[in-house]
């Protein structure tokens, strides 16, 4: 399984992601600098990790979405490639039109760094195969702009096509407003593309893959990917 992690100059969670990927796959991912204009031959999965791509003084991810490497990532996705965007990566995927909606400023207008709980809304995808439907897991979030918004039509389509991957919830699984710290519409924490191969989410499962550093709640995402892509 060949994984490529795209590193923009302001990306800052690429090492966390590389550790999680190596833990699940047994291999170091390829770290691809943003100035590259092609993905390596045989790429199975492209990961856009967290950070501040080009400083994000403009809308988060807006500049990164226009970078040459993102044209390649979009083409890869169009060919049916798997693309995972976490935090800034999710913002970039939305800005690039690979996923619908937008990530607005958090409702509190403050940066939020804390653990959150998420409910698995769509099990059985390449990213969620190792969770049960409705399972609840924990992950840190760390973002200023994680408030997912989609208009009525977009939201209706996501729900109709069952493309919501994760929702913010209480530890017992209830999707309350209190659990929805950034104010995302309909508690949405992560969404999938129609072919289920592109996933974007705000929290950081890659930071919970070791019992020493907060637990292994995030590991199923990576082991799911290994199984799905190995058999692909």
């Amino acid at each position: 399984m060949k994984v490529v992690v795209v590193v923009f100059p302001g990306t800052n969670r690429e090492r966390d992601m590389a550790i999680a990927l190596e833990r699940a796959t047994g291999r170091k991912p390829v770290m691809l600098f943003h100035r590259e204009t092609a993905l390596p031959q045989g790429t199975d999965l492209v990961v856009l990790p967290g950070g501040f791509s080009y400083g994000d003084y403009l809308r988060c991810g807006a500049m990164a979405a226009q970078s040459p490497i993102m044209r390649e990532v979009a083409a890869f996705a169009a060919r049916g490639g798997h693309v995972l965007g976490v935090c800034n990566g999710f913002q970039i995927l939305c800005e690039a039109g690979l996923l619908p909606g937008a990530l607005l400023r958090n409702a509190s207008l403050r940066f939020l760094s804390m653990d959150c709980h998420m409910r698995v809304e769509r099990a059985g995808t390449p990213y969620t195969a190792h969770w049960q439907q409705g399972a609840v897991f924990r992950a840190p979030m760390a973002h200023g702009d994680g408030n997912w918004f989609g208009d009525d039509q977009t939201l209706a389509r996501l729900k109709a096509e069952n493309l919501v991957a994760f929702r913010y919830c209480e530890p017992d699984g209830r999707t309350t407003q209190a659990a929805n710290r950034n104010g995302a519409r309909d508690n949405i924490a992560g969404i999938l593309s129609p072919n289920l191969r592109v996933l974007g989410l705000m929290p950081h499962p890659e930071d919970y893959v070791d019992p020493l550093m907060g637990g292994t709640d995030g590991l199923p995402m990576f082991t799911s990917l290994v199984e799905s892509l190995a058999s692909a």
Binding site: F111, A142, M213
Partner: protein, 738 residues
């Protein structure tokens, strides 16, 4: 041949020298060194280099008395940051630095650039930063602008640290009206480097190129160091142009580019451009190396047009570094900086003249001999006045006005003890994926080293109210508390960085506070094998003549060979609670006395350094033997507050045994005797026996379980109520800001 710079008119020069903060006798020294009236740029260079901020002219005689050596110290004070050996072939590089004055004038940018500056001090030595901490002091929340200042400082620290991708893992905050006009923002960075790849700042190699990298130079922060070396009056807001503007994205690029260059053998010396920017970096690098330096300012990357030599030399624009490269390697180095889209310019070379020569537009704007600029720099042994000793209060003569549980509920919600969650929730504490103990979860932050078992523990500490009452005891306590907090997670404390925040040193009582605090710190450092390896001094923390509380903030670093051995403070059910260390009920300067009895008085609790060491070594050994489930030092608020914090951390109550009849209950529960820890263990009897064998005072406090904290028959409070009181204070305070 250099033609001499054009001197200012003598009368004008003298007048300007005063405006730039030089004293008349200091100006006379300048004249003696130059042998003529200075040019404007020269006057600017002298005034910033001789400012309190850059020269440490009032503090140096005292700082020299601090212990700075230990077998594990690689570089002590004098470099950009301290360097210690932490095993596995690695060094920890760390320092704490103040950005107090700018943070009062412009809280967001002041705090943000404080973080940026301290990060550069650390990565300039070759380290990848792995953690940020801070030590903050704010005024009374109802003081003018104060909630805005709190909001801006917290946003600034978060805004910079979060973007640059270094986790902010710990810190401390106090509130006191003495900081109303002068809040303190002390930022600390800890980084890791191979111990044989440390980069220093002494320039060497005549003819070697002087290279400027990073952001362009603008007109921001001109005379920032001078501003930071004076008191504030009502015109503080007018000094806003002296505050720098930070760009954390460029800092991130600079970190990556510098570390990439440092992996090669091209660098001879490197230093960041911090306070006094291009002036201090070029003067210090050349001065340390005993060489001359010539700069051509036309080559300096500039953000604005028409900048003069004076402006460029004095600018404190952020995210810039100066380095000396090996000859002929410029193009190779430039490739790395271009990759990261940063400016790279050769702006001069080293000379054998022992002078700094500044050229701009074909003219010589400054020519100063470097040796006397340093050796003739003012150095003051200012008069000191000892702080009068305070009375030792008799606890039995102080009645308890409210009862134990009411006092506890009030204390855990008080400003100095309430939850800091509102603050740390705005700092990314997990980026990097190595954070083992996060803010609020333990007495010190623990960050694992990527790919290794080894971890660093880090903390910042100071109890300013003790320092005001007795600066020597307060200095001793600040160092001891840092040592204790590292011990409480199981780490072996190794070294400290200090950030000395005081008032106007020209006042004997302030200089006396400084000297006494250093005395106390030195005693503790020696007794605990805990040397000072770096530090920073911030004086003139006064507004309208009112000084802050003396605040020698200590940043401590310790090591754990196996991160898995660290413990946090959260209580779990079914455990014995044991207090280590003697409890005598010391109420003087306690938070109980201030918050419950409404009195700020008495001598602060003394620190018995021998007992401190014995107790701490005992606790650490038990933690490393795997016998301790949770551990918390007993600090502000005393024993019951410590237990309550453990209970709130775990969401588990405890049933406590009644206090000994020999002490008033409130003195037992809320006294702030030093050198104590509360341990939660499976087998309390075994721990008590071990303590007895080791000659360490220990006593059973009770047993964890249930949802209430029970302090006696009919005396209990639910952990849920405690949490409600503890968690609501800061959010309620800051709600109005939005």
């Amino acid at each position: 041949m250099t033609q001499a710079p054009t001197p200012l008119d003598p009368a004008r020069a003298k007048q300007l020298s005063a405006e730039f903060g030089l004293k008349p006798d200091e100006y006379d020294r300048l004249l003696a060194i130059l042998g003529r009236t200075p040019a404007l740029t020269e006057l600017g260079i002298f005034s910033v280099m001789w400012s309190e901020h850059c020269s440490y002219k009032s503090s140096r005689v005292w700082l020299r008395t601090l212990p700075t050596k230990a077998p594990w110290v690689i570089h002590g004070p004098g470099e950009n940051a301290g360097v210690i050996d932490i095993g596995d072939g690695l060094a920890a590089i760390f320092k704490m630095e103040s950005h107090n004055h700018p943070s009062f004038i412009e809280p967001y940018q002041g705090a943000a650039t404080g973080v940026g500056g301290i990060l550069r001090d650390v990565f300039t030595m070759g380290a990848r930063p792995i953690a940020n901490l801070n030590a903050l002091r704010f005024g009374a929340p109802d003081a003018p602008r104060m909630t805005r200042i709190i909001d801006g400082v917290v946003r600034g620290i978060g805004g910079y640290g979060n973007c640059v991708g270094v986790p902010t893992v710990g810190g401390e905050v106090n509130f006191h009206p003495a900081y109303n006009g002068n809040p303190l923002v002390n930022a600390m960075t800890v980084g890791i480097a191979p111990k044989d790849r440390i980069f220093l700042s002494a320039a060497a190699g005549i003819g070697n190129p002087v290279v400027y990298v990073g952001s362009k130079t603008g007109r921001d922060g001109i005379h920032g160091a001078t501003m930071a070396s004076a008191e504030f009056s009502a015109d503080a807001e007018e000094k806003r142009p002296t505050v720098q503007i930070g760009d954390p994205f460029v800092e991130k690029l600079l970190i990556e580019a510098c570390l990439e260059l440092m992996a090669t053998d091209m660098i001879v010396a490197i230093q960041d451009m911090g306070a006094a920017g291009l002036t201090s970096s070029s003067v210090e690098m050349a001065g340390k190396g005993g060489v001359g330096i010539e700069l051509v300012l036309d080559n300096v990357p500039q953000r604005e047009t028409g900048m003069t030599a004076y402006e460029m030399m004095l600018s404190e624009s952020q995210e810039r570094m100066l380095m000396i490269l090996k000859p002929g390697r410029e193009a190779e180095a430039e490739t790395i900086f271009r990759k990261w889209e940063l400016d790279f310019a050769v702006i001069g070379h080293l000379t054998d003249t022992g002078r700094i020569v500044i050229r701009h537009k074909g003219a010589v704007e400054a020519e100063i001999p470097l040796a006397p600029l340093e050796s003739e720099a003012p150095l003051y042994r200012r008069p000191t006045a000892e702080t009068p000793k305070q009375t030792v209060l008799d606890a039995s003569a102080i009645p308890d006005p409210v009862g134990i549980t009411s006092a506890l509920e009030k204390l855990v919600g008080s400003l100095d003890l309430c939850s800091r969650r509102w603050i740390w929730d705005q700092y990314d504490s997990t980026v990097g994926g190595q954070t083992v103990q996060r803010p609020g979860g333990a007495d010190a932050a623990v960050v694992k080293l990527e790919g290794l078992k080894r971890a660093l523990a880090m903390t910042t500490d100071c109890t300013p109210r003790y320092c005001l009452a007795d600066p020597e005891e307060g200095g001793r306590q600040a160092v001891a508390e840092a040592w204790r907090n590292l011990t409480a997670v199981g780490a072996t404390p190794l070294a400290i960085t200090d950030n000395m925040n005081f008032g106007n040193p020209e006042k004997p009582e302030i200089m006396g506070q400084f000297a006494a605090a250093v005395r106390g710190m030195a005693a503790a450092c020696t007794a605990l094998d805990f040397p000072v390896v770096s530090g920073n001094v911030s004086l003139y923390n006064e507004t309208n003549g009112r000084a802050i509380l003396p605040t020698p903030a200590i940043g401590g670093v310790g090591v754990l060979e196996d991160a898995a051995q660290s413990v946090g403070l959260a209580l779990k059910p079914g455990l014995d609670l044991i207090v280590i260390g003697a409890t005598q009920g010391w109420l003087g300067q306690s938070l109980w006395l201030r918050e419950i009895a409404g009195r700020e008085e008495g001598a602060p609790p003394p620190v018995d350094l021998a007992a401190e060491r014995r107790n701490g070594d005992f606790v650490r050994a038990r933690i490393l033997a795997g016998q301790v489930v949770a551990c918390h030092d007993v600090a502000d608020g005393g024993l019951l507050v410590a237990v309550a914090e453990m209970a709130m951390g775990g969401g588990i109550g405890a049933v406590l045994e009644p206090p000994p009849a020999s002490l008033p209950a409130h003195a037992f529960w809320f006294g702030e005797d030093q050198g104590r820890y509360v341990l939660a263990v499976a087998d309390g009897s075994a721990l008590l026996a071990a303590a007895t064998a080791a000659g360490v005072p220990a006593a059973r406090l009770g047993r964890s379980g249930g949802g209430d904290l029970v302090t006696g028959p009919g005396s209990s409070i639910s952990v849920a109520s405690l949490r409600a009181a503890h968690e609501s204070t800061l959010p309620a305070l800051m709600e109005a800001v939005g």
